[in-house]
Protein backbone atom coordinates (compact mmCIF):
# COMPACT_ATOMS: atom_id res chain seq x y z
CA UNK A 1 0.00 0.00 0.00
CA UNK A 2 1.26 3.48 -0.87
CA UNK A 3 1.51 6.04 1.95
CA UNK A 4 -1.01 8.89 1.78
CA UNK A 5 1.33 11.45 3.25
CA UNK A 6 5.10 11.50 2.91
CA UNK A 7 7.15 14.00 4.86
CA UNK A 8 10.85 13.95 4.07
CA UNK A 9 13.55 15.87 5.88
CA UNK A 10 11.49 18.97 6.65
CA UNK A 11 13.24 21.91 8.33
CA UNK A 12 11.85 25.30 9.32
CA UNK A 13 13.04 28.31 11.32
CA UNK A 14 11.12 31.26 12.77
CA UNK A 15 12.41 34.64 11.71
CA UNK A 16 12.18 37.83 13.71
CA UNK A 17 14.14 41.07 13.87
CA UNK A 18 16.05 39.76 16.87
CA UNK A 19 17.19 36.65 15.06
CA UNK A 20 16.45 33.20 13.75
CA UNK A 21 15.06 30.36 15.85
CA UNK A 22 15.17 26.84 14.45
CA UNK A 23 11.74 25.27 15.02
CA UNK A 24 11.70 21.95 13.21
CA UNK A 25 14.73 19.99 12.23
CA UNK A 26 14.85 17.09 9.78
CA UNK A 27 11.34 15.77 10.36
CA UNK A 28 10.47 12.69 8.30
CA UNK A 29 7.56 10.31 8.60
CA UNK A 30 4.87 8.64 6.53
CA UNK A 31 1.19 8.12 7.02
CA UNK A 32 -0.84 5.24 5.62
CA UNK A 33 -4.43 5.71 4.39
CA UNK A 34 -6.90 5.21 7.24
CA UNK A 35 -4.25 5.63 9.87
CA UNK A 36 -4.69 7.82 12.94
CA UNK A 37 -1.47 9.47 14.00
CA UNK A 38 -0.93 11.51 17.15
CA UNK A 39 1.92 13.94 17.68
CA UNK A 40 2.86 14.80 21.25
CA UNK A 41 5.56 17.06 22.54
CA UNK A 42 6.28 19.78 25.08
CA UNK A 43 4.37 23.02 24.51
CA UNK A 44 6.00 25.41 22.08
CA UNK A 45 7.97 22.66 20.37
CA UNK A 46 6.49 23.37 16.98
CA UNK A 47 3.63 20.86 16.85
CA UNK A 48 1.18 23.38 15.42
CA UNK A 49 3.83 24.65 13.02
CA UNK A 50 4.14 21.12 11.70
CA UNK A 51 0.40 21.05 11.01
CA UNK A 52 0.58 24.44 9.28
CA UNK A 53 3.30 22.99 7.07
CA UNK A 54 1.30 19.87 6.26
CA UNK A 55 -1.75 21.84 5.18
CA UNK A 56 0.37 24.19 3.11
CA UNK A 57 -0.29 27.42 5.03
CA UNK A 58 3.49 27.79 5.36
CA UNK A 59 6.19 26.28 3.19
CA UNK A 60 9.14 24.32 4.52
CA UNK A 61 12.56 25.90 4.05
CA UNK A 62 13.95 22.48 3.28
CA UNK A 63 12.50 19.07 2.50
CA UNK A 64 9.19 18.18 0.96
CA UNK A 65 5.65 17.23 1.89
CA UNK A 66 3.74 15.04 -0.54
CA UNK A 67 0.09 14.11 -0.31
CA UNK A 68 -0.83 11.32 -2.72
CA UNK A 69 2.46 11.99 -4.47
CA UNK A 70 1.91 15.70 -5.15
CA UNK A 71 3.08 18.64 -3.05
CA UNK A 72 0.52 20.36 -0.82
CA UNK A 73 -0.64 23.89 -1.62
CA UNK A 74 -2.06 26.63 0.59
CA UNK A 75 -5.70 25.91 1.45
CA UNK A 76 -5.33 22.46 -0.14
CA UNK A 77 -8.80 21.04 -0.75
CA UNK A 78 -7.56 17.53 0.10
CA UNK A 79 -6.89 18.52 3.69
CA UNK A 80 -9.32 19.36 6.47
CA UNK A 81 -8.14 21.27 9.51
CA UNK A 82 -9.72 21.46 12.97
CA UNK A 83 -8.48 24.27 15.14
CA UNK A 84 -8.21 24.49 18.94
CA UNK A 85 -11.61 26.11 19.25
CA UNK A 86 -14.67 25.36 17.14
CA UNK A 87 -14.72 28.93 15.75
CA UNK A 88 -18.34 28.67 14.74
CA UNK A 89 -19.47 32.09 13.56
CA UNK A 90 -22.01 33.48 16.01
CA UNK A 91 -23.92 35.39 13.34
CA UNK A 92 -24.62 32.27 11.29
CA UNK A 93 -26.93 29.40 12.03
CA UNK A 94 -25.43 25.94 12.51
CA UNK A 95 -26.46 24.96 9.00
CA UNK A 96 -24.85 28.08 7.52
CA UNK A 97 -21.78 27.39 9.63
CA UNK A 98 -21.26 23.86 8.37
CA UNK A 99 -21.69 25.11 4.81
CA UNK A 100 -18.94 27.72 5.23
CA UNK A 101 -16.23 25.62 3.60
CA UNK A 102 -18.40 24.64 0.64
CA UNK A 103 -19.44 28.26 0.23
CA UNK A 104 -15.83 29.42 0.13
CA UNK A 105 -14.83 26.73 -2.33
CA UNK A 106 -17.98 27.47 -4.36
CA UNK A 107 -19.04 23.83 -4.21
CA UNK A 108 -22.63 24.17 -3.09
CA UNK A 109 -23.77 21.36 -5.37
CA UNK A 110 -26.84 19.22 -4.73
CA UNK A 111 -24.59 16.22 -4.11
CA UNK A 112 -22.47 17.99 -1.49
CA UNK A 113 -25.54 19.45 0.20
CA UNK A 114 -27.05 15.98 0.43
CA UNK A 115 -23.83 14.77 2.05
CA UNK A 116 -24.02 17.58 4.62
CA UNK A 117 -27.63 16.64 5.35
CA UNK A 118 -26.51 13.06 5.82
CA UNK A 119 -23.76 14.09 8.24
CA UNK A 120 -26.08 16.37 10.19
CA UNK A 121 -28.67 13.67 10.67
CA UNK A 122 -26.08 10.94 11.34
CA UNK A 123 -24.49 12.95 14.10
CA UNK A 124 -27.59 14.33 15.75
CA UNK A 125 -27.38 17.95 14.66
CA UNK A 126 -30.42 17.83 12.41
CA UNK A 127 -32.71 19.55 14.86
CA UNK A 128 -30.14 22.30 15.52
CA UNK A 129 -29.90 23.38 11.88
CA UNK A 130 -31.43 26.79 12.42
CA UNK A 131 -30.01 27.25 15.92
CA UNK A 132 -27.20 29.68 16.57
CA UNK A 133 -23.90 28.38 17.99
CA UNK A 134 -24.48 29.95 21.41
CA UNK A 135 -27.48 27.65 21.89
CA UNK A 136 -25.31 24.51 21.62
CA UNK A 137 -23.22 22.73 24.23
CA UNK A 138 -19.44 22.58 23.84
CA UNK A 139 -19.60 19.02 22.57
CA UNK A 140 -22.27 19.79 20.01
CA UNK A 141 -20.34 22.81 18.80
CA UNK A 142 -17.25 20.66 18.30
CA UNK A 143 -19.35 18.20 16.31
CA UNK A 144 -20.62 21.02 14.12
CA UNK A 145 -17.03 22.13 13.55
CA UNK A 146 -16.11 18.58 12.56
CA UNK A 147 -19.01 18.38 10.12
CA UNK A 148 -17.92 21.71 8.63
CA UNK A 149 -14.55 20.07 7.95
CA UNK A 150 -15.93 16.71 6.80
CA UNK A 151 -18.33 18.42 4.37
CA UNK A 152 -15.36 19.08 2.09
CA UNK A 153 -14.56 15.34 2.03
CA UNK A 154 -10.91 15.80 2.88
CA UNK A 155 -8.51 12.90 2.37
CA UNK A 156 -6.51 13.92 5.41
CA UNK A 157 -7.73 15.53 8.61
CA UNK A 158 -5.51 17.63 10.83
CA UNK A 159 -6.63 18.13 14.43
CA UNK A 160 -4.79 20.84 16.36
CA UNK A 161 -5.60 20.18 20.03
CA UNK A 162 -9.27 20.31 19.13
CA UNK A 163 -10.41 19.49 22.67
CA UNK A 164 -8.11 21.75 24.67
CA UNK A 165 -10.72 24.48 25.12
CA UNK A 166 -13.22 22.09 26.75
CA UNK A 167 -13.57 21.16 30.40
CA UNK A 168 -12.31 17.73 31.43
CA UNK A 169 -15.58 15.83 31.35
CA UNK A 170 -16.72 17.30 28.03
CA UNK A 171 -13.25 16.71 26.71
CA UNK A 172 -13.39 12.96 27.35
CA UNK A 173 -16.85 12.73 25.86
CA UNK A 174 -16.03 14.80 22.82
CA UNK A 175 -12.76 13.04 22.05
CA UNK A 176 -14.62 9.74 22.31
CA UNK A 177 -17.30 11.12 20.05
CA UNK A 178 -14.98 12.60 17.43
CA UNK A 179 -12.73 9.54 17.51
CA UNK A 180 -15.69 7.32 16.77
CA UNK A 181 -16.95 9.54 13.95
CA UNK A 182 -13.52 9.59 12.32
CA UNK A 183 -13.22 5.80 12.45
CA UNK A 184 -16.72 5.45 11.09
CA UNK A 185 -15.96 7.77 8.17
CA UNK A 186 -12.63 5.93 7.72
CA UNK A 187 -10.61 9.12 7.80
CA UNK A 188 -6.87 9.45 7.89
CA UNK A 189 -5.99 11.90 10.60
CA UNK A 190 -3.17 13.59 12.46
CA UNK A 191 -3.89 14.76 15.99
CA UNK A 192 -1.61 17.22 17.73
CA UNK A 193 -1.94 17.27 21.50
CA UNK A 194 0.02 17.68 24.72
CA UNK A 195 -2.27 15.21 26.46
CA UNK A 196 -0.54 11.82 26.41
CA UNK A 197 -3.66 9.91 27.42
CA UNK A 198 -5.65 11.50 24.65
CA UNK A 199 -2.97 10.59 22.12
CA UNK A 200 -2.83 6.94 23.19
CA UNK A 201 -6.59 6.58 23.37
CA UNK A 202 -7.19 7.83 19.85
CA UNK A 203 -4.13 7.01 17.76
CA UNK A 204 -2.62 4.03 15.95
CA UNK A 205 0.82 5.57 16.25
CA UNK A 206 2.24 8.30 18.46
CA UNK A 207 5.13 10.50 17.36
CA UNK A 208 7.08 12.11 20.19
CA UNK A 209 8.75 15.40 19.43
CA UNK A 210 11.65 16.89 21.40
CA UNK A 211 11.73 20.47 22.73
CA UNK A 212 12.70 23.12 20.18
CA UNK A 213 14.22 22.67 17.66
CA UNK A 214 11.92 19.70 17.34
CA UNK A 215 13.22 16.38 16.11
CA UNK A 216 11.35 13.08 16.22
CA UNK A 217 12.44 11.35 19.44
CA UNK A 218 10.47 8.21 18.96
CA UNK A 219 7.55 6.73 17.10
CA UNK A 220 5.40 4.46 19.27
CA UNK A 221 2.92 2.13 17.55
CA UNK A 222 -0.16 1.68 19.72
CA UNK A 223 -1.85 -1.66 19.62
CA UNK A 224 -4.67 -2.90 21.80
CA UNK A 225 -6.30 -6.30 21.40
CA UNK A 226 -9.65 -4.68 20.82
CA UNK A 227 -11.83 -4.70 17.79
CA UNK A 228 -13.34 -1.37 16.75
CA UNK A 229 -11.97 0.27 19.84
CA UNK A 230 -13.32 3.63 20.93
CA UNK A 231 -11.06 6.07 22.77
CA UNK A 232 -12.91 5.21 25.97
CA UNK A 233 -12.27 1.47 25.49
CA UNK A 234 -8.59 2.18 25.01
CA UNK A 235 -8.40 4.15 28.22
CA UNK A 236 -9.66 1.08 30.08
CA UNK A 237 -7.35 -1.40 28.32
CA UNK A 238 -4.69 -3.02 30.52
CA UNK A 239 -1.83 -1.92 28.22
CA UNK A 240 -2.87 1.71 28.41
CA UNK A 241 -0.79 2.39 31.51
CA UNK A 242 2.39 0.92 30.03
CA UNK A 243 2.06 3.01 26.86
CA UNK A 244 1.49 6.03 29.03
CA UNK A 245 4.61 5.36 31.06
CA UNK A 246 6.68 4.72 27.96
CA UNK A 247 5.71 8.04 26.38
CA UNK A 248 5.98 9.86 29.68
CA UNK A 249 9.56 8.65 30.14
CA UNK A 250 10.45 9.59 26.58
CA UNK A 251 9.03 13.11 26.97
CA UNK A 252 10.94 13.64 30.19
CA UNK A 253 14.10 12.14 28.79
CA UNK A 254 16.00 15.39 28.55
CA UNK A 255 14.50 17.09 31.58
Amino acid sequence: MKPLLEITDVCLSYHSLSGETPALSHISFQLMPGEFLAIVGPSGCGKSTLLNLICGLIRPEQGQILLDGTPVTSGDCRIGYMLQKDHLLEWRTIYKNVLLGLEIRKELTAEKLAYVDQLLSDYGLDKFRSAHPSELSGGMRQRAALIRTLALKPELLLLDEPFSALDYQTRLNVSDDIGRILRQEKKTAILVTHDIAEAISMADRVIILSPRPAIICKIVPIHFDLENRTPMDSRNAPDFKSYFNLIWRELNHDA
Binding site: C55, H87, L89, W91, R105
Partner: protein
Protein backbone atom coordinates in the same frame (compact mmCIF):
# COMPACT_ATOMS: atom_id res chain seq x y z
CA UNK B 1 -47.42 30.91 33.32
CA UNK B 2 -44.34 32.04 35.22
CA UNK B 3 -44.07 30.61 38.72
CA UNK B 4 -44.82 33.07 41.51
CA UNK B 5 -41.63 34.95 42.42
CA UNK B 6 -40.42 34.56 46.00
CA UNK B 7 -40.86 37.30 48.55
CA UNK B 8 -37.25 38.43 48.31
CA UNK B 9 -37.29 38.37 44.52
CA UNK B 10 -40.41 40.53 44.52
CA UNK B 11 -38.81 42.94 46.94
CA UNK B 12 -35.73 43.11 44.78
CA UNK B 13 -37.78 43.81 41.67
CA UNK B 14 -39.81 46.45 43.47
CA UNK B 15 -36.65 48.12 44.68
CA UNK B 16 -35.19 48.19 41.16
CA UNK B 17 -38.39 49.63 39.74
CA UNK B 18 -38.53 52.35 42.38
CA UNK B 19 -34.92 53.26 41.72
CA UNK B 20 -35.58 53.59 38.00
CA UNK B 21 -38.65 55.74 38.55
CA UNK B 22 -36.76 57.99 40.93
CA UNK B 23 -33.96 58.59 38.42
CA UNK B 24 -36.44 59.45 35.65
CA UNK B 25 -38.36 61.75 37.96
CA UNK B 26 -35.22 63.59 39.10
CA UNK B 27 -34.04 64.03 35.51
CA UNK B 28 -37.27 65.75 34.52
CA UNK B 29 -37.44 67.62 37.82
CA UNK B 30 -33.99 69.18 37.32
CA UNK B 31 -34.97 70.39 33.84
CA UNK B 32 -38.23 71.89 35.06
CA UNK B 33 -36.57 73.50 38.08
CA UNK B 34 -33.95 75.05 35.81
CA UNK B 35 -36.59 76.42 33.43
CA UNK B 36 -38.75 77.80 36.23
CA UNK B 37 -35.83 79.50 37.99
CA UNK B 38 -34.67 80.96 34.66
CA UNK B 39 -38.15 82.34 33.90
CA UNK B 40 -38.65 83.78 37.39
CA UNK B 41 -35.26 85.46 37.54
CA UNK B 42 -35.79 86.95 34.08
CA UNK B 43 -39.21 88.31 35.02
CA UNK B 44 -38.10 89.72 38.38
CA UNK B 45 -35.10 91.36 36.77
CA UNK B 46 -32.60 89.21 38.64
CA UNK B 47 -30.90 88.54 35.30
CA UNK B 48 -30.98 90.75 32.24
CA UNK B 49 -33.50 89.20 29.90
CA UNK B 50 -32.00 91.06 26.94
CA UNK B 51 -28.81 88.99 27.28
CA UNK B 52 -30.08 85.84 28.94
CA UNK B 53 -33.57 85.76 27.42
CA UNK B 54 -36.13 83.48 29.12
CA UNK B 55 -37.91 80.20 28.36
CA UNK B 56 -41.13 82.12 27.72
CA UNK B 57 -39.50 84.46 25.21
CA UNK B 58 -37.78 81.54 23.48
CA UNK B 59 -41.02 79.62 23.19
CA UNK B 60 -42.80 82.71 21.93
CA UNK B 61 -40.30 83.44 19.17
CA UNK B 62 -40.25 79.74 18.22
CA UNK B 63 -44.04 79.80 17.83
CA UNK B 64 -44.01 82.99 15.76
CA UNK B 65 -41.21 81.65 13.50
CA UNK B 66 -43.19 78.48 13.06
CA UNK B 67 -46.36 80.32 12.16
CA UNK B 68 -44.68 82.54 9.57
CA UNK B 69 -42.72 79.52 8.40
CA UNK B 70 -39.34 81.26 8.56
CA UNK B 71 -37.76 78.56 10.76
CA UNK B 72 -38.35 75.63 8.41
CA UNK B 73 -35.79 76.42 5.68
CA UNK B 74 -33.09 76.67 8.37
CA UNK B 75 -34.15 73.41 9.95
CA UNK B 76 -34.38 71.44 6.72
CA UNK B 77 -31.06 72.77 5.41
CA UNK B 78 -29.15 71.83 8.56
CA UNK B 79 -30.77 68.41 8.85
CA UNK B 80 -30.27 67.56 5.16
CA UNK B 81 -26.65 68.66 5.22
CA UNK B 82 -26.00 66.62 8.35
CA UNK B 83 -27.64 63.50 6.96
CA UNK B 84 -25.88 63.74 3.61
CA UNK B 85 -22.46 64.26 5.17
CA UNK B 86 -23.18 61.41 7.59
CA UNK B 87 -24.05 59.11 4.70
CA UNK B 88 -20.84 60.02 2.90
CA UNK B 89 -18.81 59.47 6.08
CA UNK B 90 -20.28 55.99 6.58
CA UNK B 91 -19.74 54.93 2.96
CA UNK B 92 -16.33 56.54 2.46
CA UNK B 93 -15.12 55.66 5.95
CA UNK B 94 -16.02 52.00 5.57
CA UNK B 95 -14.62 51.93 2.04
CA UNK B 96 -11.32 53.45 3.09
CA UNK B 97 -11.04 51.17 6.12
CA UNK B 98 -11.60 48.14 3.86
CA UNK B 99 -8.99 49.44 1.43
CA UNK B 100 -6.46 49.91 4.24
CA UNK B 101 -7.23 46.44 5.58
CA UNK B 102 -6.72 44.84 2.17
CA UNK B 103 -3.46 46.68 1.69
CA UNK B 104 -1.51 46.70 4.96
CA UNK B 105 1.42 48.50 3.38
CA UNK B 106 -0.82 51.39 2.41
CA UNK B 107 -2.14 51.41 5.99
CA UNK B 108 1.38 51.60 7.40
CA UNK B 109 2.32 54.42 5.05
CA UNK B 110 -0.79 56.52 5.63
CA UNK B 111 -1.15 55.95 9.37
CA UNK B 112 0.77 59.07 10.56
CA UNK B 113 -1.15 61.26 8.11
CA UNK B 114 -4.48 59.92 9.30
CA UNK B 115 -3.51 60.40 12.94
CA UNK B 116 -2.48 64.02 12.32
CA UNK B 117 -5.58 64.79 10.26
CA UNK B 118 -7.74 63.20 12.93
CA UNK B 119 -6.26 65.22 15.80
CA UNK B 120 -6.31 68.46 13.81
CA UNK B 121 -9.12 70.80 14.96
CA UNK B 122 -11.33 70.58 11.92
CA UNK B 123 -12.86 74.01 12.48
CA UNK B 124 -9.52 75.32 11.25
CA UNK B 125 -10.24 73.80 7.86
CA UNK B 126 -13.63 75.45 7.42
CA UNK B 127 -12.45 78.89 6.21
CA UNK B 128 -10.15 77.19 3.72
CA UNK B 129 -12.94 74.98 2.40
CA UNK B 130 -15.18 78.01 1.91
CA UNK B 131 -12.49 79.73 -0.15
CA UNK B 132 -11.71 76.63 -2.17
CA UNK B 133 -15.18 75.27 -2.77
CA UNK B 134 -17.31 78.41 -2.45
CA UNK B 135 -20.03 79.33 0.02
CA UNK B 136 -22.58 76.69 -0.88
CA UNK B 137 -24.24 73.59 0.52
CA UNK B 138 -21.60 71.30 -0.95
CA UNK B 139 -18.94 73.02 1.12
CA UNK B 140 -20.99 72.68 4.27
CA UNK B 141 -21.39 68.97 3.61
CA UNK B 142 -17.64 68.56 3.09
CA UNK B 143 -17.15 70.51 6.31
CA UNK B 144 -19.44 68.11 8.17
CA UNK B 145 -17.59 65.14 6.69
CA UNK B 146 -14.17 66.51 7.56
CA UNK B 147 -14.95 66.34 11.27
CA UNK B 148 -15.96 62.67 11.27
CA UNK B 149 -14.22 60.94 8.38
CA UNK B 150 -10.67 60.47 9.66
CA UNK B 151 -11.75 59.24 13.06
CA UNK B 152 -14.12 56.71 11.55
CA UNK B 153 -11.48 55.40 9.14
CA UNK B 154 -9.05 54.93 12.03
CA UNK B 155 -11.66 53.37 14.32
CA UNK B 156 -12.98 50.97 11.72
CA UNK B 157 -9.52 49.99 10.51
CA UNK B 158 -8.39 49.29 14.07
CA UNK B 159 -11.58 47.31 14.64
CA UNK B 160 -10.97 45.24 11.51
CA UNK B 161 -7.47 44.47 12.76
CA UNK B 162 -8.86 43.10 16.01
CA UNK B 163 -10.69 40.23 14.30
CA UNK B 164 -9.75 36.87 15.77
CA UNK B 165 -6.64 35.66 13.86
CA UNK B 166 -7.73 32.06 14.46
CA UNK B 167 -11.00 32.72 12.64
CA UNK B 168 -9.03 34.16 9.74
CA UNK B 169 -6.86 31.04 9.80
CA UNK B 170 -10.04 28.97 9.64
CA UNK B 171 -10.95 30.71 6.38
CA UNK B 172 -7.46 29.99 5.05
CA UNK B 173 -7.70 26.32 5.94
CA UNK B 174 -11.03 26.19 4.14
CA UNK B 175 -9.27 27.51 1.04
CA UNK B 176 -10.41 31.14 1.25
CA UNK B 177 -8.37 34.23 0.51
CA UNK B 178 -8.56 37.91 1.44
CA UNK B 179 -11.96 38.45 -0.11
CA UNK B 180 -13.50 35.56 1.84
CA UNK B 181 -11.87 36.74 5.06
CA UNK B 182 -13.39 40.17 4.53
CA UNK B 183 -16.85 39.00 3.54
CA UNK B 184 -17.23 36.08 5.94
CA UNK B 185 -15.38 37.29 9.04
CA UNK B 186 -14.26 40.92 9.11
CA UNK B 187 -17.41 42.69 7.93
CA UNK B 188 -20.02 40.58 9.76
CA UNK B 189 -18.05 40.72 13.00
CA UNK B 190 -17.66 44.50 12.70
CA UNK B 191 -21.37 45.30 12.57
CA UNK B 192 -21.57 46.34 16.26
CA UNK B 193 -18.44 48.47 15.84
CA UNK B 194 -19.83 50.10 12.71
CA UNK B 195 -23.03 50.98 14.57
CA UNK B 196 -21.20 52.53 17.52
CA UNK B 197 -18.93 54.49 15.16
CA UNK B 198 -22.06 55.72 13.37
CA UNK B 199 -23.58 56.88 16.64
CA UNK B 200 -20.54 59.02 17.33
CA UNK B 201 -20.38 60.25 13.74
CA UNK B 202 -23.88 61.62 13.49
CA UNK B 203 -23.07 64.04 16.31
CA UNK B 204 -19.73 64.97 14.79
CA UNK B 205 -21.31 65.65 11.39
CA UNK B 206 -23.76 68.00 13.05
CA UNK B 207 -20.83 69.83 14.67
CA UNK B 208 -19.06 70.13 11.30
CA UNK B 209 -22.17 71.37 9.55
CA UNK B 210 -22.76 74.07 12.16
CA UNK B 211 -19.12 75.19 11.93
CA UNK B 212 -19.50 75.42 8.15
CA UNK B 213 -22.74 77.37 8.43
CA UNK B 214 -21.09 79.80 10.83
CA UNK B 215 -18.78 81.08 8.14
CA UNK B 216 -20.27 80.36 4.77
CA UNK B 217 -24.02 79.99 4.61
CA UNK B 218 -27.21 81.92 4.01
CA UNK B 219 -29.45 79.28 5.58
CA UNK B 220 -29.30 76.79 8.41
CA UNK B 221 -29.28 76.90 12.20
CA UNK B 222 -25.56 77.75 12.29
CA UNK B 223 -26.24 80.76 10.10
CA UNK B 224 -29.23 81.69 12.27
CA UNK B 225 -27.04 81.61 15.40
CA UNK B 226 -24.36 83.85 13.87
CA UNK B 227 -26.87 86.23 12.30
CA UNK B 228 -28.90 86.67 15.49
CA UNK B 229 -25.89 87.04 17.78
CA UNK B 230 -24.57 89.81 15.54
CA UNK B 231 -27.94 91.57 15.66
CA UNK B 232 -28.25 90.92 19.41
CA UNK B 233 -31.31 88.70 19.08
CA UNK B 234 -30.08 86.41 21.80
CA UNK B 235 -33.47 84.78 22.16
CA UNK B 236 -33.01 83.41 18.65
CA UNK B 237 -29.51 82.18 19.47
CA UNK B 238 -30.76 80.27 22.49
CA UNK B 239 -33.71 78.94 20.55
CA UNK B 240 -31.40 77.63 17.81
CA UNK B 241 -29.19 75.95 20.40
CA UNK B 242 -32.16 74.24 21.98
CA UNK B 243 -33.36 73.08 18.56
CA UNK B 244 -29.87 71.70 17.89
CA UNK B 245 -30.04 69.77 21.17
CA UNK B 246 -33.35 68.26 20.11
CA UNK B 247 -32.07 67.38 16.62
CA UNK B 248 -29.01 65.71 18.17
CA UNK B 249 -31.19 63.69 20.53
CA UNK B 250 -33.50 62.57 17.71
CA UNK B 251 -30.67 61.56 15.35
CA UNK B 252 -28.89 59.68 18.12
CA UNK B 253 -32.13 58.01 19.14
CA UNK B 254 -32.84 56.89 15.58
CA UNK B 255 -29.43 55.23 15.36
CA UNK B 256 -30.08 53.63 18.73
CA UNK B 257 -33.19 52.06 17.22
CA UNK B 258 -31.22 50.82 14.21
CA UNK B 259 -28.67 49.31 16.58
CA UNK B 260 -31.38 47.54 18.55
CA UNK B 261 -32.79 46.08 15.35
CA UNK B 262 -29.38 44.88 14.22
CA UNK B 263 -28.71 43.22 17.58
CA UNK B 264 -31.80 41.07 17.24
Amino acid sequence: MMPEASYHQQQYLRHQKREKKLVTFLRIFILLLFLVLWEISARTGLIDSFIFSSPGMIWHSFCSMCSDGSIFPHLSVTITETLVSFLFVVVLGTGMAVLLWTCPRLAKITEPYLVVLNSLPKSALAPLLIVWLGANERTIIVCGMSVAIFGSILNLYTGFGEADPEKLKLIETLGGGKKEKLMKIILPSSVPLLLSVMKVNIGLCLVGVIIGEFIGARKGLGYLIIYSSQTFKLTWVLMSIIILCIIAIILYGLLGLVEKRARR
